[in-house]
C-alpha cells in the first residue's frame, strides 16, 4: 500500500527541506522522495515541491481479528484450565511461571523461627491468542475453572492483537492460530 504526500515549500526553505526529505526517507521504509523545483510564478515567488511516497507496512493482515488474552491463575489450576480451554477449541497457549502480588500483597511464613513476608506469590501466566469472537468464551472458561473463591485466584487482561502470523506459512490472524 503506497501513500503519497505533497507539499509546497517556499524556495528559501529548500535546503531545510532537503534535510527533511532525508529524515522522511529514514523514517519511512522504502520511501522515495522527489524534490521538484516549480517554475517561478508570476508573483516571483520561487518554490519547490516535495513529493514523498512511502510504503506503509500492512499491520492489519487478512482474516478474522484476534484477541490477546493474559490470565494469571493459581499454579495448581493450570492443568484444569488447559483441559477446559482445549475442550472449547483453544489450540495453543503460552505458559510462564511467574511471581507477583495483587491487592492481598503476599503473605507471611516462618523459617527457623523467624517470620518473613512472601511479597511475591507464585502464579502461572497464560497468554492466549484467539479469534475475537471466541474471546468471551475463553474468558468465561478461565474464570469458571480457575476460581476457588479464595483470595489470589488471579486476573485476566484482554488486548486487541494487531496481527497474528504463522511463521511457517505466513498465514495471518484467524488462519494463523
Amino acid at each position: 500500500m503506497w501513500t503519497g504526500q505533497k507539499r509546497v515549500f517556499p524556495f528559501f526553505d529548500c535546503l531545510k527541506m532537503m534535510q527533511l526529505s532525508k529524515i522522511v526517507q529514514n523514517l519511512c521504509n522504502l520511501s522515495a522522495c522527489q524534490i521538484v523545483k516549480t517554475p517561478s510564478n508570476l508573483s516571483f515567488r520561487p518554490s519547490v515541491l516535495l513529493f514523498c511516497a512511502c510504503k506503509q507496512i500492512d499491520l492489519q493482515g487478512k482474516g478474522t481479528k484476534v484477541k490477546f488474552i493474559i490470565a494469571t491463575i493459581k499454579p495448581f489450576k493450570l492443568e484444569e484450565v488447559r483441559e477446559a480451554l482445549t475442550d472449547i477449541g483453544v489450540r495453543g497457549m503460552m505458559v510462564t511461571e511467574i511471581k507477583g502480588f495483587g491487592s492481598q500483597s503476599g503473605h507471611t511464613e516462618i523459617y527457623r523461627g523467624a517470620e518473613y513476608a512472601v511479597n511475591f506469590v507464585p502464579k502461572i501466566k497464560l497468554e492466549i491468542v484467539v479469534a475475537a469472537d471466541m474471546a468471551d468464551q475463553v474468558i468465561e472458561t478461565i474464570t469458571k475453572t480457575a476460581r476457588t473463591g479464595k483470595i489470589g485466584d488471579g486476573k485476566i487482561f484482554v488486548l486487541d492483537a494487531q496481527q497474528a502470523i504463522r511463521v511457517r506459512t505466513g498465514e495471518t490472524n484467524g488462519d494463523a492460530l
Binding site: Y111, R112, A114, Y116
Partner: protein, 436 residues
C-alpha cells in the same frame, strides 16, 4: 574416652618381655592378640563411619546455604578435612596424646606409625594399632573444623578460613583435647566426656561463635529490627547430610569405647549404638512437635537440627543411660535447638546452619547430663565446660581478630551479594540455572 592413652605405652613395655618369650615358644594365642585385633577393627570401622561425617557436614551445609554459595561451601568442606588430616599428623596427634606431660600443654611432633607387618611382640596388645588409633582420632578433629565452616558460611573468605582451620586442628583442638583425653588436668580432676560433647562439639561451637561475632551477620539478615530468613538451597541435601551424620555418629560414640576385646566391651559398644540412635530420634521428635506447636507448621530444618542436637547431647555419656534416659536427654537437646535458633537471631548472631545451638548449646547440655547416669559431679562438669569455653573462645577470638586485621576475613559487599561461588571460585554449583 575412658582409657587413657598415656598409660598404654607403659603397659605395653611391661608386657614386652613376656610376649617375646611366648613368641619363641609358640605363636601368640587368640586370647593374647584377640583384643588387639578387635579393638583395631573397631577403630577402623568407627573411623570410616566418622570420616563419612565429613560428607554429612558437607551435604547439610550445601543444603542450608543459598545456591550462589554452594560450590564454595563444598570447597571449604573438602579443604578443611584435608588440612585437618595433615595438621593432625604434623603436630595434632602427639600434642593431644603427649604421654607424660604437665597436664596442660605439650607440643608434639609428627605421628609415626607401627612398622610394616609389626610383630605381636612389638604391638600394643592391650590397645590397638597406632595407625587405627591415629586415624580414628583424626576424623574427630575434622568434625570440629566442619562445625565452624557451617556457622561462618556465605560471607567468609576462603583462605583466611583455612588459616583458622590450620591453627584450630593443629594447635587449639589438640591442646584442649589433651586436658581430657590426653590424660591432662581435667581428666585427673574427674571430668567426664565420653565421646566429646565438650572436647569436640563445644570446641567447634565456641570457635564458630567467635568467628560469627567477628565476622558479623550476612548482608540483609537483620534489617530494621526484623530477621530476614535466607532459606536454604536444597533441603533434600540437608536431610541427606543429617542422616549421614546420624550414621557416622555410631562410629563417633561407639568407637569411643576404645576397646572391643571382651564380651563386656562389645556389649557396651552395642549399648552405645542403641542409646545414640534413641537420642537422635528423640531430638528430632521433640523439634517436630515443638515447631508444630510454636509455629503451626513443622520446620524441617529445625527437625534436622533437633536430631543432631539429640546426638550431641548423648555424646558425653552414651554408655551409662538407659534407653529411656537417652530419650529424654536427646529430647531436651532438640528443645534447646528450637529455642536457641531464634534466640541467637535476637542477638544478631548469624549462624547459617545452626551449628552453635546444635554443637555448643546441646554440647553443654550433654556434658551436664552426664551427672544423671554417669559418674561425674556437677561442679567438675561445669569446670570442664568453662575451661574449654574460655580457652577455645578466647583463642579463637584472638585469631579471628588477627586475621581480620591482617588479611581480612570477609568478602566485599558486592562479592557477597553476587555469591562466593562466582566471586571466589569463578564456578557455580548449579550453572544450568543461569545459562541457557
Amino acid at each position: 574416652m575412658k582409657l587413657l592413652k598415656t598409660l598404654l605405652p607403659a603397659a605395653a613395655l611391661a608386657a614386652l618381655p613376656v610376649m617375646g618369650m611366648a613368641q619363641e615358644a609358640a605363636a601368640p594365642t587368640m586370647d593374647e592378640v584377640g583384643p588387639y585385633i578387635f579393638t583395631t577393627l573397631l577403630f577402623l570401622m568407627a573411623g570410616f563411619l566418622v570420616f563419612f561425617m565429613a560428607a554429612g557436614f558437607a551435604m547439610l551445609e550445601a543444603g542450608l546455604v543459598r545456591s550462589k554459595n554452594v560450590a564454595m561451601q563444598l570447597t571449604k568442606n573438602i579443604a578443611l578435612f584435608s588440612i585437618a588430616a595433615i595438621m593432625y599428623w604434623l603436630v595434632g596427634f602427639n600434642t593431644m596424646y603427649p604421654g607424660d606431660f604437665n597436664g596442660w600443654f605439650a607440643i608434639g611432633g609428627p605421628t609415626v606409625l607401627d612398622p610394616v607387618g609389626v610383630a605381636a611382640a612389638d604391638a600394643a596388645l592391650d590397645y590397638a594399632s597406632v595407625g587405627s588409633d591415629f586415624f580414628f582420632q583424626l576424623v574427630f578433629v575434622a568434625a570440629t573444623a566442619s562445625i565452624v565452616s557451617g556457622a561462618v558460611a556465605e560471607r567468609i573468605k576462603l583462605w583466611p578460613f583455612l588459616i583458622f582451620v590450620i591453627v584450630l586442628t593443629g594447635i587449639m583442638y589438640p591442646i584442649s583435647g589433651s586436658w581430657q583425653w590426653g590424660g591432662g588436668w581435667l581428666s585427673e580432676m574427674g571430668f567426664s566426656d565420653f565421646a566429646g560433647s565438650t572436647v569436640v562439639h563445644s570446641v567447634g561451637g565456641w570457635a564458630a561463635l567467635a568467628g560469627v561475632i567477628v565476622l558479623g551477620p550476612r548482608i540483609g539478615k537483620y534489617k530494621d529490627g526484623r530477621v530476614n530468613p535466607f532459606p536454604g538451597s536444597n533441603l533434600a541435601l540437608a536431610t541427606l547430610g543429617t542422616f549421614i551424620l546420624w550414621l557416622g555418629w555410631f562410629g563417633f560414640n561407639g568407637g569411643s569405647q576404645l576397646a572391643m576385646g571382651t564380651v563386656g566391651d562389645v556389649s557396651d559398644v552395642s549399648r552405645i549404638f542403641a542409646n545414640t540412635n534413641m537420642a537422635a530420634a528423640a531430638g528430632a521428635v521433640a523439634a517436630l512437635i515443638l515447631t508444630q506447636v510454636l509455629y503451626k507448621k513443622v520446620d524441617l530444618t529445625m527437625v534436622l537440627n533437633g536430631a543432631l542436637a539429640g546426638l550431641v547431647s548423648i555424646t558425653a555419656e552414651p554408655l551409662a543411660p538407659t534407653l529411656f534416659g537417652s530419650l529424654w536427654i536427646g529430647a531436651i537437646g532438640g528443645v534447646i535447638v528450637v529455642f536457641a535458633i531464634p534466640f541467637l537471631d535476637k542477638l544478631k548472631i548469624d549462624d547459617v546452619v545452626g551449628a552453635i545451638p546444635v554443637h555448643l548449646f546441646a554440647g553443654i547440655w550433654g556434658t551436664i547430663a552426664v551427672i544423671f547416669y554417669g559418674e561425674a559431679n556437677l561442679m567438675t562438669q561445669l569446670t570442664g565446660i568453662v575451661a574449654y569455653g574460655v580457652f577455645t573462645f578466647v583463642a579463637s577470638l584472638i585469631l579471628w581478630f588477627i586475621l581480620k586485621a591482617t588479611v581480612g576475613i570477609r568478602v566485599s559487599e558486592e562479592e557477597e551479594i553476587n555469591g562466593l561461588d562466582m566471586a571466589e571460585l569463578g564456578m557455580e554449583a548449579y550453572p544450568e540455572f543461569s545459562k541457557g
